[in-house]
Every structure is written in C-alpha cells, then in structure tokens.
Amino acid sequence: MAHILLIDDDELLRDTLLQMLELDRHRVTEASTGEQGLKLFGSGSGFDAVITDILMPGIDGTQVIFEMRRRAPQLPVIAMSGGRRKLSPQFNLETATMVGAASQLAKPFGLKDLRAALNKALGVEPVR
C-alpha cells in the first residue's frame, strides 16, 4: 500500500483512478491543478509516488514533474496524457520522461496498465 498524490484537472477521470487505486488499497490524495498538486506535495516526504496529467491549464504536468524532481529527486512520478488536438500523447509523455518521469501512461488506459506503471515506478524507488 502506498500513499499516492493524484493530479488531474478532469474530475471524472480522477474519480475513476481513485477507485482503481483504492481497489489496490492505496491511499490517494487528489489535486485538480498543477498548482494545488505542488502545494500538497510540499517536500514530497508524505508521498510514495505521484501520478500526474500533462496537459492542464496553468502549471502543466512537465513543470510539475520538473519541480517535484527538484524537491524530491528519489520520488517516482508517473506521467499520463491523452494528447490534445495536434499535441500528441507520445510527445507529451516523451517530454515527461525527459524531465524525470519514472513511467508513462497513454490515455485511455486500464487497471492493468495503471498497476504496471505504478509497480515500475515504485520498483525504481521501493515503497517506504
């Protein structure tokens, strides 16, 4: 069981992910914007992993990952993106990896993909 910070501006998706994560007995803290996510994150000491959307209004996911890696370099961050118009999910997720994301999730994805990404991320830095 891990404490996960979930950041996404899409409430419906957030609710779905929350249910999926709670199914695996993870504890989840939600944020609807990058700004709120960073505020809740603090120094990162209270979390085992972060799952963040990339394309969000205001502070986007790559900026969130960049800042979180600066504050807590060892904490794994999972990036997820479905793209928007001409902005492809591949490019968004590649960018996330470049700035330090531990694993990626291309939307839409299922519980199996979520588990695999989370296991990969937590495998890099074991759950405390």
């Binding site: 001409k86 490019f91 590649e94 470049m98």
Partner: protein
C-alpha cells in the same frame, strides 16, 4: 636506462649483477651478501614498483570511470536526439495548424476590411432616406396649414350663408377661394403620395433581397470566422505549450549533459595525477643510475670499500618516499586505507 628497461629487470637483480661482473672483468668480486648498495637500490626499485603499480591500478579504475561517464553522456545525447526527432514530428504536425492560422488571419483581415465600405454605403442610403422623410414632413405641414385655412373659410362661408340673399356675392368669393385651396390641397396630396411612393421604393431598395442576402452572408461569415478565431486561440495555446515543454525538456537534458561533462573533465584532470607519479620515478631512477654507475666503476677498479655508496643507495628509497609524501593530500585519505594520505590532485 629507461623506465621500460628498468621495469624488465628481474627480482634477483643483485645475483645477476654479480654474474655480470664476473663476466665483465678479472676483478675480484664482492659476495652477494656484502652488496648493501645493491640491496638499497632493490628497496628503491620495490618501492617504485609499488608506486607505479598503484598508479596503474588507479589509472585503470579511473579509465573505467571515464568509460562509464562517456557511456552516460552518450546515452543522454542519444536520448536528446530521439526526443528532438519526436519534437520535429510534433512540430510538423503543428505546421498544419500554423498554416490554418495564417489563412484565418487573412480571411479575418479581408472581412474586417469590407466592413467600413459597407457601413459607408448603408450610412449614405440612410441619409437619403432621412432627406425624403424630412421633405415629406414639410409637405405635411403645408397641407395642415391649407386645411386650417379651409376650415376658417368654411366657417366664414357658413356665416355668409346665413346671410344668404343679401350678400350672395361675398359668399361666391369665399366659395371660390375654398375651391382654389381645395385644388391646391389636392395637388399637394398627390405630390405627397408620389413622394411616399418614392420613399417606399427607397426603403424597398435598401432592405431588398440583395441587402438581406448581404446581411445574412455577413452574419454567416462572422459566425464562421468566430469559430476559426476560437480554433486559432486554441492552436496558439497548443503551440505555446509545445515550445514551453520542448524548451523545458531540452534545458533539463542539457543541464544533465553539462554536469556529466564537468565530471568527465574532473576525471580527465585526475588522469594527470598518474602521469605525475610516473614522472616522479624519473629523478629517483637518475639518482639510482648515478649510484649504480659509481658502484660498477669502483668494482671494476677493484675497490672493496663501498660504504659511502651503500649509505647513498640506502638513502635512495627514503628520498623517493619523501618526495612522494610532498604530493600526498592528508585530507584525501582513501577509504580502503584510513589514515593514509591520499593523492593530491594537481591540475594541469
């Protein structure tokens, strides 16, 4: 004797020297046990071997570290190349959006440019309409005046009629006047009718099917351009995000590359330390060579007393160690040998 030759000498150097001396001349040779000078040189040799071995070991370790660092830099560089290729694909995909934006801006500009002409035309038509209406209003005033006078005359005619018989002539004049006014009123009424007809025609022209079609076209165009403008805005937001993300990722990668190159340079500079260790062997070798040459000369000359040379040979190793100690850094003690001074990095 160069370093390579020196390094190739076997451990039983003293014995070989003895055999060589026997072959070299008829001099009475010294027993090996009495060859203290040679023993001193051997001690120096062993110490130099130790130092050189340490330098080789450190160099090997450092070379492996360099290889690892270069591998890391190559991985970073490859990752950047791959990412920029993906960024290029993304940029090409966004090119369509840029072209669309350019077209939308042109169309928007063309539409906005026609608006002043249309507004001027409609203003002129409205001015004409106002003039017609004004003329009609003036005619209405005239008709009203005539009607008022007709009314007064009619009253007067009624009064005069009451006096019928006596003043028939006066009534006839009044009746004539009424008729004239009536005729005038009739003519004006006809003119008003004509003017109203023209006015209606002007209004019909101004708001005819053509004008209506033009208005509808403008409405549709404005709606279409409104949708395109929103797309333009969205496309601009995407492009701004694309470049912000691209720059963030490339900056991050370059920061890592810069850090890696810095570490690589540190390692490369560390390589010079090994060269310095090897270089310091050379003066020790030169001193040893001097002692050896003198020893050989004395032995060849049949001199048995080598005490002074023994002392000089014995001092070779402590001297070498003393010079080495000058190049040790007490703060850089190795983890494997705590308390032992480590290498002092002297940058080139």
């Amino acid at each position: 004797m160069n370093t390579t030759t020196f390094l190739s000498l076997p451990a039983s150097w003293c014995g070989k020297l003895w055999r060589w001396l026997r072959r070299a001349g008829p001099h009475e040779a010294l027993p090996v046990a009495e060859c203290a000078a040679v023993a001193g040189m051997r001690t120096l040799d062993q110490q130099m071997f130790t130092e050189l071995g340490r330098a080789v070991g450190l160099s090997e370790q450092s070379a492996m570290q360099l290889l690892t660092q270069v591998g890391g830099l190559r991985a970073l560089s490859s990752r950047l190349i791959g990412y920029l290729a993906e960024g290029n694909k993304q940029s090409e995909a966004m090119q369509d959006g840029i072209e669309l934006n350019s077209r939308v801006i042109k169309e928007l500009a063309a539409f906005v440019q026609t608006l002043p002409q249309q507004i001027e035309l409609e203003r002129e038509q409205l001015k004409l309409l106002m003039l017609e209406v004004k003329g009609l209003a003036e005619m209405t005033d005239t008709i009203r005046g005539i009607a008022r006078q007709t009314e007064i005359l009619a009253i007067n005619a009624a009064i005069e009629a009451a006096r019928a018989g006596e003043s028939g002539r006066g009534f006839a004049v009044l009746a004539g006047e009424v008729r004239r006014l009536a005729t005038e009123a009739n003519e004006l009424a006809g003119k008003v009718k004509d003017d109203i007809g023209r006015l209606v025609k002007t209004v019909e022209v101004n708001y005819s099917g053509e004008v209506e079609a033009r208005t509808r076209h403008n409405e549709a165009e404005a709606k279409r351009l409104g949708v395109l403008t929103r797309e333009l805005d969205a496309s601009y937001v995407d492009m701004r995000q694309f470049y912000a993300m691209l720059i963030r990722a490339v900056s991050q990668n370059n920061t890592e590359l810069d850090r890696g190159i810095g570490l690589l340079l540190d390692s490369a500079q560390y390589q010079d330390v090994f060269k310095q260790i090897v270089d310091r062997v050379e003066p020790a070798m030169a001193s040893r060579h001097v002692v050896l040459a003198e020893l050989i000369a004395r032995l060849r000359g049949g001199q048995r007393d080598t005490a002074e040379l023994d002392a000089r040979a014995a001092a070779l190793m402590p001297d070498y160690l003393a010079r080495e100690a000058e190049h040790r850094d007490p703060d850089a003690a190795a983890e494997s040998a705590p308390g032992t001074p480590g290498l002092r990095i002297e940058l080139f």
